[in-house]
Subunit: 504 residues, 2 copies
């Protein structure tokens, strides 16, 4: 629907995957505009509001999820939408087109919020994102969410983080205003995109078990706690194959697959849905924002001894003009050396690398196995050693103690402590002149061996360059020369979030 609002898709009928006519052609009867009054699990009968009764042998609950709404007044005012149905999308597009809406406020900062913000901006609508958290797409680690925020701002989206909406009210000149704890936002239309919650009313009537997540409990055949009653899609739980726990992940692709498994099981074809990895991707203006498995935060919360790598690099051979920066983050388990998750942010093809990581997770691969995978190479498609394989190699180097990394966050903390490390910048003079970390020691990599005396031996040293490839080589040179406390800045200056010193 966001792509329809942004006019990437002109005709709303294209969004209907399967019309009633197509179902009928397959001998499947479709009853539209019927509300279910009650489902009786004992009598195995569905009772409709209009009095009809539909007996069943097998029942599939595909009731989806409903948009959550913050407990604030004014959400029923005309001009407030939640984008859970096609008529809403049509109304929003009309409001912008014929209605001439010029200002929009979005409450929330998840996928729907991101995609709709892009749609609004491409329609020339002034857009403000209001969110309670500090950073958008909270399910990514903070350094990546921060990059998404930059991309939003670069395209003119006003971000209001750490902000709670209090009410939506009628504004001046016929518009609306969102009243928050940090001031008011005027808007011609307001989108509430604070997430969804599973529709479990019928499940309750049937007495089938609902999980801790609030979604319907199912087994690997998608069957609920009541025999012959299945649940698929946003209304039910999925098993997370990495965290080994039942979760609620309302995503269209997962719903599709669960539907197939339930159908197979009902028809006597052996099949089971082994679960999800939390794979997801979102286009945010020029950025591909993708993830699979666990983030660093999630991995630590789940008790893993998590190690991470940040490997920013071009997504194609460096000499190809269409190469784009791809920020890749891997999370792996020190104990088993298994991959736990991957995140990608940037203009580069992150979806491809995260899909490869998803396959590694499916197979329970170690980073060593991933590093040796034979992926396709040609300059228009990838570097000779693909970004994800390099990332896996970097992780192996960490596991094998060939080098130690330090995160920007940890380094920033050290810099304001008593034991400040030496910041060894090994880039070129031109790079250094343009932008640098304040207080860093500058020795280009090529002269490091000759100028080792300039690097103090009695203090910790943190080596870096733009992406920490040369920084890594510098660390190896120092280690070879007997330096004992040497680390490399994870992700290099390109991912440093705390500001740099520029100019001469």
């Amino acid at each position: 629907m966001p792509y329809y609002i942004g006019d990437v898709i002109k005709d709303e009928r294209k969004l209907i995957a399967r019309t009633p006519e197509k179902f009928e052609a397959s001998g499947i009867h479709v009853l539209l505009n019927r509300k279910v009054e009650e489902v009786d699990g004992e009598k195995r009968e569905v009772r409709l509001e209009n009095g009809e009764r539909l007996p069943f042998d097998v029942l599939v609950l595909a009731t989806g999820a409903a948009a959550t709404r913050p407990p604030i007044p004014g959400l029923d005012l005309p001009g407030v939408y939640s984008l859970k149905s096609l008529p809403e999308a049509v109304a929003i597009k009309k409001a912008i087109g014929e209605g001439g809406a010029k200002k929009a406020a979005i409450i929330g900062a998840g996928f729907i919020a991101m995609e709709t913000a892009e749609a609004f901006r491409s329609a020339g609508v002034d857009t403000t994102l209001i969110q309670r958290a500090e950073l958008p797409v909270r399910r990514w680690d903070p350094e990546y969410s921060a990059m998404v925020k930059e991309e939003l701002q670069k395209h003119g989206v006003h971000c209001m983080p750490l902000t709670s909406p209090r009410a939506v009210e009628r504004g001046a000149s016929g518009g609306l205003k969102v009243v928050t704890d940090r001031g008011e936002v005027e808007a011609d239309l307001v989108l509430v995109a604070t997430g969804v919650k599973p529709n479990t009313l019928l499940a309750g009537q049937l007495g089938v078990a609902v999980g801790k997540t609030g979604a319907i409990s199912v087994n690997f055949a998608q069957e609920t706690s009541r025999e012959g009653v299945y649940a698929v899609g946003d209304c039910c739980e999925s098993f997370h194959r990495v965290s080994r726990s039942w979760t609620s992940l309302p995503l269209g692709d997962v719903a599709n697959k669960q539907g197939r498994v339930a159908a197979n099981h009902i028809c006597g074809v052996e099949d089971e849905f082994p679960g999800v990895l939390g794979s997801a991707v979102c286009k945010v203006f020029d950025y591909c924002v993708a993830r699979t498995g666990l983030t660093e935060r999630e991995a630590r919360a789940a008790g893993f001894d998590a190690e991470v790598t940040l490997t920013p690099a071009p997504d194609k051979a460096h000499f190809m003009p269409e190469a784009r920066m791809l920020m890749l983050k891997l999370v792996a388990d020190r104990k088993t050396r298994k991959l736990l998750g991957a995140q990608a942010v940037g203009p580069g093809a992150g979806d491809k690398r995260v899909d490869v990581a998803a396959m590694a997770l499916t197979a329970g691969m170690t980073v060593d196995q991933l590093a040796h995978a034979d992926l396709c190479y040609a300059p228009p498609y990838s570097p000779a050693v693909d970004n994800i394989l390099t990332a896996a190699d970097v992780m192996r180097n960490k596991f094998d103690n060939i080098f130690k990394g330090v995160s920007a966050e940890a380094l920033q903390a050290e810099l304001s402590s008593d034991a400040t490390p030496v910041l060894l910048d090994v880039r070129t003079q031109a790079e250094f002149d343009q932008m640098r970390l304040p207080g860093s020691l500058f020795i280009p990599l090529g002269s490091l061996r000759a100028r080792l005396k300039e690097v103090p031996r009695d203090r910790p040293v943190v080596c870096f360059c733009k992406i920490s490839l040369r920084g890594y080589e510098a660390a190896r040179i120092l280690q070879g020369a007997g330096y004992e406390n040497v680390r490399v800045l994870d992700g290099g200056l390109i991912t440093w979030p705390y500001g740099l010193e520029s100019g001469d």
Copy 2:
């Protein structure tokens, strides 16, 4: 180098991954323009042509491969190139630019030939491809090579299949001509791109074993039959993880990985190179041409009970304007249900799907496991059920005898036999009017149930549509109605290579 010739890359220095200066900065001495006279494995010493002697503890052979040359006269004439070195690329670009070369002949039809043909065409050079085989990129199955040929021809490349060059001679007006068994081709420059053979001269001197493939034998640590002598890259063999045999696959990404494994082993870091899958990709004008694992032909030759699927479909959500057609072919083993290989051809993102297939091969996954993989979904990146997952589901349906496929080749043979099957076309009237198989029975899917009487019960029926999705539904309807001999045309009309009837 083809991208430099095509002026995608302006500066040839960008093609040098690592300069001697960078090696020296890492303490690695680089001796350029030295020819090795002899390597003595007993004395562990390298003798150079200039008399220098270099003793070694460990020796790494990274001698690469040399361009093969057909045994025909005239290949030493000025204007004949093989593109195995940067100076040749510079000379070719100069010949086109300053030299004003207007016509090129390429002998061979592999990757280098494809990429250079594209480079020549983008520089406005009239290009003829001369090859012995019937179709380009012979390592793909024929139906896909045929599509590559169409793409070449669409962009003005003249293809001369089944043609053997006899000589290159000086032509009229100062140019060259390639004399073949099918006539002469005039050209200002000739590229010989008939493949490479491993350079094993030094290996011979060392007495290290060379495999049946003609490349140096190595173990999984890249060590040759002589202790302390390693071989990496195009000069040595690689273990094929699907066919379980040693092969020679001269590819840059494989060389990189082997180098790392050898270095690790030499430095005492545990590591081994588990081998290759034959993953490769090539850009041919607007087509991405990718593969991994075994083709149908290779799988049958290796003794597998191979089943295949052809699943042409848009590579993104069908409603996205940037969705592009992606022809995917999977090969899997009926006995174990394991994936054996994948091929992709078309303007869609085939590299991504083939990389996912490569991961499935790495893990030895069944198509059932692949079908349940949780890949990233958003409309700008994939359909809700990704192409590769749909392909895996189609394969499962074949394995589970939910439907039977028939290849275009097999159907074409049946059509010229006595037992002609009913060709049931279930597309729309508009599609049928535009283009159809001669002699087909036309019943749109929506009316099939009502018009079943028109479909003969005493003959085999082959159902199809554009991509065989509706064709599959039709087959299921017929099977449900008791029809016993029903098949679906693999890949639908979009992959039918024998010509269609058009117009009203």
